[in-house]
């Protein structure tokens, strides 16, 4: 029963169940028709169930590796059904191609099974173990970083000051516009919202106190730290992570450099310098925002507003806010660098480490800020 189709190949099958089947193939046996070709070829041993099969490929003009695979699969299938199989009219070049295909490889299962979703308990355990390892790694890194910083303190000449300057510009000067804008808006909003309430009691003037105290004590350092974490902590992680992936960190080690001293210390030092400065700017712009609301909406003069602001700032609050900023800077830059060094794999690993750097930094900022709040409460009283 000859059979034609619109494909690139033509298939003629002659034979009957229990007798010999003669299959003749012509045309192109190629990837584009693979699905139909496989179905056609496998139907011969499965549906017809002949005694033996002979496939003549003398008329095949083009055979690619997918076509060759189809022939081999047919042979494997016939053999597994106990039907003798023979390939006739194979040209020399097609023979080379057929020999290349590793018959065993087609059947061999992967060395590693496809990963499947483990049970919930297993996954919980995995997460716990990962967290534990993570904490250990952070501890180790903190130790190494402190040691490197201490070393640099004793040997200031070993610090790469050019790098420090570069990162001060990146994390500090370049971040100023966004810090200024957000603080100004924050000051405007705080002053406006609180004025609505305070007006009712004729306590307009105290808007200045509210903005100043809230900003200097809490919001200034926190807002700045979160912005720096998003801008620079992520950048640190991505930069170091990419270097890890490209073996650049290994190159540093083999050249005798300490990667932490070489890569992390300049970033941490730069952050420790610029974050307090940014915080002062943030305080300033928020107070400016409050001043604008005070003058335009509350009939206060600039002079009274500034006087009131001055009287509400305590040197102690200002100093502790700077201390907080320095601590936040260390947390942000430290975790950024640590996440970078932790990267394994490729581009995806860098992405994950960047995300993790920002999330962990914000988490640590909030935890540290809570600790400060409790500590300062007892110091003040």
């Amino acid at each position: 029963m000859p059979e034609m189709n619109h494909r690139g190949y033509r298939l003629h099958v002659e034979g009957a169940p229990g007798a010999q089947a003669a299959v003749r193939l012509e045309g192109r046996l190629a990837l584009e028709d693979l699905k139909a070709l496989m179905a056609d070829l496998q139907a011969v041993p499965v549906k017809m169930k002949p005694r033996e099969i002979a496939v003549d490929v003398a008329g095949v003009e083009y055979l690619d590796s997918a076509g060759a695979m189809a022939l081999i699969e047919m042979e494997n299938l016939s053999r597994s059904l106990g039907i003798p199989f023979e390939l006739l009219g194979v040209s020399e070049k097609d023979h080379g191609l057929l020999c290349l295909i590793d018959r065993e490889a087609l059947q061999r299962p992967p060395l590693r099974p496809e990963s499947e979703r483990p049970a919930i308990v297993v996954r919980l355990g995995e997460v716990a173990r990962r967290q534990y390892r993570d904490v250990l790694e952070i501890m180790t890194f903190v130790g190494e970083l402190v040691a490197a910083l201490a070393y640099c303190l004793v040997h200031p000449r070993s610090i790469r000051w050019e790098e420090v300057k570069f990162y001060m510009k990146r994390a500090g000067a370049d971040g100023l516009p966004i810090v200024a804008l957000i603080s100004l808006l924050l000051g405007l909003i705080m002053a406006f919202m609180s004025s609505l309430q305070l007006k009712q009691f004729g306590a307009n003037l105290y808007v200045a106190n509210l903005v100043t105290i809230a900003m200097v004590r809490e919001l200034g350092p926190i807002m700045t730290a979160i912005l720096v974490a998003g801008r620079s902590g992520s950048a640190f992680a991505a930069e170091i992570g990419t270097m890890v992936v490209n073996d650049e960190v290994n190159a540093l080690v083999t050249m005798g450099f300490d990667p932490i001293r070489f890569l992390a210390v300049p970033k941490v030092l730069a952050a420790m310098v610029v974050v307090p400065i940014l915080t002062v700017y943030a305080d300033f712009f928020a107070i400016l925002g409050g001043l604008i609301v005070g003058i335009t909406g509350l009939d206060l003069t600039a002079f009274t507003y500034i006087q009131q602001t001055k009287s509400s700032i305590r040197v102690f609050d200002f100093a502790t806010s700077l201390v907080k900023a320095v601590v936040f800077a260390m947390l942000i830059s430290g975790i950024g660098c640590q996440r970078g060094f932790q990267v394994r794999g490729g581009a995806e690993g860098v992405g994950m480490s960047t995300t993790s750097a920002v999330v962990s930094a914000i988490f640590l900022i909030i935890v540290a800020d809570s600790a400060f709040a409790i500590m300062l409460h007892y110091v003040r009283h």
Binding site: L34, E73, A105, P110, A347
Partner: protein, 253 residues
């Protein structure tokens, strides 16, 4: 076994390549015939990879044109380019495997994109391709878990996924041990002779140049273009250009 077929399928005409203001190649012309193994030779930094990237349409030339199978890819629209690209396989100098995907996923990506084969069949083809490059069983490994040479071979499996009409290789032998390199030679020869794939190599590997190269061109930095063309044997035996002799005899300039 020299091919007698001289029908040009890749035509490079008056190609000038620049990065910004720096000219890397100036007015380069040559042809690649159907089904041949063509090689681009030359010292490091003379613009071989640059030429290859122009030939596959990744970079538009400053001047000149590249015609692949009758299509001028420097002027073709996106759709035509897409169609031409589906018939081209490329093995990049850096393996360019996708790090977030397993080997099987890497190889099956073009199959899933360009064919409508069912997943089981795609898996089977992937297994066959990995077997071809001696990586049978590594389906679910990630590229970062493999050695450099293994990654190179996986890159080749991906480049061959669609049994392309044209295969471009940038330094396929770099980073392979001599035995694996010889096996790769056999694989390349069988694919070339069995399927009739047209192959363009960028290489400096003398052993493979002589075992596989049918026609070669040699680029040089100083002339920003071709300094010699012919079969590897011709260049080694008859060239009077000292730069060519030094290359083939592995001498310092």
């Amino acid at each position: 076994m020299a091919s007698s077929n001289t029908e040009p399928v890749i035509i490079v005409e008056g190609l000038t390549a620049r990065y910004g203001e720096v000219t890397i190649l100036q007015d380069v012309s040559f042809e690649v015939y159907r089904g041949e193994r063509f090689m681009i030779l030359g010292g490091s930094g003379c613009g071989k990879s640059t030429l290859l990237k122009h030939m596959i349409g990744l970079i538009k030339p400053h001047a000149g044109r590249v015609v692949i199978d009758g299509v001028d890819i420097t002027r073709a629209d996106e759709e035509t380019l897409h169609r031409v690209r589906s018939r081209i396989g490329v093995l990049f100098q850096a393996d360019a495997l996708f790090g977030s995907m397993s080997l099987a996923e890497n190889v099956s990506l073009p199959l899933a994109e360009y064919t409508d084969l069912p997943p089981e069949l795609i898996r089977e083809i992937v297994r066959m391709k990995l077997g071809l490059v001696n990586l049978a069983g590594y389906d679910n490994h990630m590229p970062s878990e493999l050695s450099g040479g293994m990654r190179k071979r996986a890159g080749l499996a991906r480049a061959m996924a669609l049994d392309p009409t044209f295969l471009f290789y940038d330094e396929p032998w770099a980073g392979l041990d001599p035995v694996t390199a010889a096996e790769l030679d056999i694989l390349i020869r069988s694919l070339n002779e069995g399927i009739g794939t047209t192959m363009v190599f960028v290489t400096q590997e003398l052993a493979s140049i002589f075992s596989l190269g049918q026609r070669v061109i040699m680029l040089h930095k100083d002339v920003k273009g071709i300094i010699a063309r012919g079969t590897p044997q011709e260049l080694r035996e008859t060239s009077s250009d000292p730069r060519v002799n030094h290359f083939f005899n592995r001498q310092a300039d």
